[in-house]
């Protein structure tokens, strides 16, 4: 089992608050890894550290053996890190398909000069990009909305669009911040199926989610954060039965329900 992403003693200090506190996480290549924890535990902050939007206060991050701690977001994207956002962040003035094509930024190779001169190579590449974008939209069931202004989509549709946009860059590691928020159970089930397909494409998933059924279903391994610290880690079942996790996060009722639904 190779480790794709590894965080060592990563911390993030905000004024008056240690949001992530000496966290160690290893994400195995090809796995679906979940991060759960109470509100404000530091999950999104951890994502920001991994994707490079915030610099860690201390600790190191490595991707596939290369240290990326100080790399800019765009460099990490080139290395294969993609993400979605908890508070949806579309390019809302662009159309749906343009959003997806923007996600391909690092993969398109034609230079500005080629675009300027409309070289055949450039045109070929644009056509292929468009086709690929439509394919992705098909995949997240938004193909019929490809030409709409993305800001006009409903909340759930925007979430799916974010996933398509993140996938467009052919990432090796996809960070999903609460992808099922705002979806009803049926939609959530469909999303899970979709993500399983993604995982089958050799994309490693790192996932933050509060919908426990969803997390238990999908994740090979789960890390639990509380007040910025890692309090547990293991398989879905190990975590579910961990008293510290039940106390801090799940509550007995949910834990019982989960146990019932997913076998003891």
């Amino acid at each position: 089992m190779t480790i794709l992403l590894s965080a060592r003693q990563v911390s993030k200090q905000f004024t008056g608050l240690l949001a992530v506190n000496q966290v160690d996480v290893d994400v195995a290549a090809g796995s679906v890894h979940g991060i759960i924890g109470p509100n404000g535990a530091g999950k999104t902050t951890f994502f920001n550290l991994v994707s490079g939007l915030l610099p860690p206060t201390s600790g190191t991050l490595t991707l596939d053996g290369h240290e990326i701690t100080g790399a800019a977001p765009y460099e990490r994207t080139r290395l294969g890190v993609a993400r979605t956002f908890q508070n949806i962040r579309m390019f809302s003035d662009m159309t749906v398909v343009e959003n997806v094509m923007t996600g391909m930024h690092t993969r398109l190779e034609s230079s500005g000069l080629a675009a300027l001169l409309r070289l055949p190579a450039f045109r070929r590449e644009e056509r292929a990009a468009k086709a690929k974008a439509m394919e992705l939209l098909e995949f997240v069931r938004l193909a019929d909305k490809a030409g709409l202004r993305s800001g006009d989509l409903s909340y759930g549709d925007q979430r799916r669009l974010e996933i398509a946009r993140a996938l467009a860059g052919n990432p090796r590691l996809l960070l999903l911040d609460e992808p099922a928020a705002g979806m009803n159970p049926t939609e959530t089930r469909d999303l899970a199926a979709l993500l399983r397909q993604v995982a089958r494409r050799d994309i490693t998933l790192l996932l933050v989610e509060h919908n426990m059924g969803f997390v238990m279903d999908l994740c090979d391994r789960i890390t639990v954060l509380n007040f910025g610290r890692k309090i547990a880690e293991g398989t879905a079942r190990e975590v579910r039965d961990d008293p510290a996790v039940i106390e801090a996060y799940l509550g007995t009722k949910v834990a019982e329900r989960l146990a019932k639904a997913h076998g003891a």
Binding site: S51, G52, L53, A72, P73, Y74, T77, R78, A82, R83, F85, R89, F91, S92, D93, M94, T95, V97, E98, M101, T102, G103, M104, H105, T106, L108, S110, G112, A115, L116, L117, R118, F122, E126, A129, K130, A133, R165, G169
Partner: protein
């Protein structure tokens, strides 16, 4: 040439020049705004181009085909130097701090009397900016932006305009794009400055200050930045208006202002509110 045509061209020559040059300035503004920056430094870049061009012609007697590119290069160098620190700023902070460039240069022009003629400016600059040249450059600019706009670069620029953090997560190298845009825009402004100097035959230190900066910004604001042609049209409207309204005399500027107000109220995204369709 028939006399009436000669008269016509004579009468409107400055205006026709100005329409073209202002079009170039509008493009230079477009270039910065397309990556979500708001700059009031374009007038300053224009001034650098104008003084560089004028001095090269007057003092060294260089041929115009050499003067023109050098006048684009000079502001580009300045853009390169100031780019790093200023591009950390955003929105109005960036805009106002770029006014600083213009104001500091103005003081410099005024005080470096030996070179720049101080408040008296430089006069007697030969008139070498032919109409065809101005409009050819403008055309190249518009077409260039149009072509590049319909590519991943265009998408990246629009992405930056909407949300920088997300654009960076999409893999857009923000500093590079910002600096690139600033440099290209400074070059366009420099060209415009050089062309102005060589068609007006006189330049002075006060022509590239705050007022001009705001005028250039307003080209893009009135036209809109959905497509590269929009700011150019904005520039042409704003340049022609005072002349078209000349018969109104006293009330000329009042009506001019009111037209702008009404235009923006009813077309808040610019006179050409459409955006470039990048994925047909």
């Amino acid at each position: 040439m028939p006399i009436w045509l000669d008269d016509f061209l004579f009468t409107y020559e400055t205006l026709i020049h100005a329409l073209g040059v202002h079009g170039l300035l509008a493009l230079s503004m477009y270039c910065v705004m397309a990556v979500g920056q708001l700059s009031l430094g374009q007038a300053a870049f224009m001034g650098i181009g104008a003084y560089t061009g004028a001095l090269l012609t007057l003092n060294l007697g260089l041929p115009f085909w050499l003067v023109l590119p050098l006048s684009a290069l000079a502001p580009a160098l300045v853009a390169l130097v100031i780019g790093g620190p200023t591009l950390r700023l955003s929105g109005v902070y960036l805009a106002i701090s770029t006014i600083a460039l213009g104001e500091v240069l103005r003081v410099l022009y005024i005080n470096a009397e030996g070179l720049t003629g101080g408040a008296l400016g430089l006069s007697g600059i030969p008139r070498k900016a032919d109409l065809w040249l101005i409009y050819l450059l403008l055309l190249l600019g518009v077409v260039g932006f149009w072509m590049v706009g319909r590519s991943k670069i265009g998408r990246a620029m629009e992405a930056m305009r909407e949300d920088e953090a997300v654009a960076s997560v999409m893999g857009v190298n923000l500093p590079r794009y910002k600096l690139g845009a600033l440099i290209v825009s400074s070059m366009l402004a420099g060209l415009a400055g050089c062309l102005t100097a060589h068609s007006n035959s006189f330049i002075g230190p006060n022509e590239f200050g705050f007022e001009m900066a705001v005028t250039i910004l307003s080209f893009a604001l009135l036209g809109g930045i959905g497509t590269p042609i929009a700011p150019v049209i904005g520039a042409m409207i704003l340049t022609a208006l005072p002349e078209v309204l000349r018969p109104l005399q006293d009330f000329r500027l009042v009506i001019n202002g009111l037209i702008i107000v009404v235009a923006v109220l009813f077309l808040p995204r610019g006179v050409i509110p459409f955006r470039l369709r990048r994925a047909p």
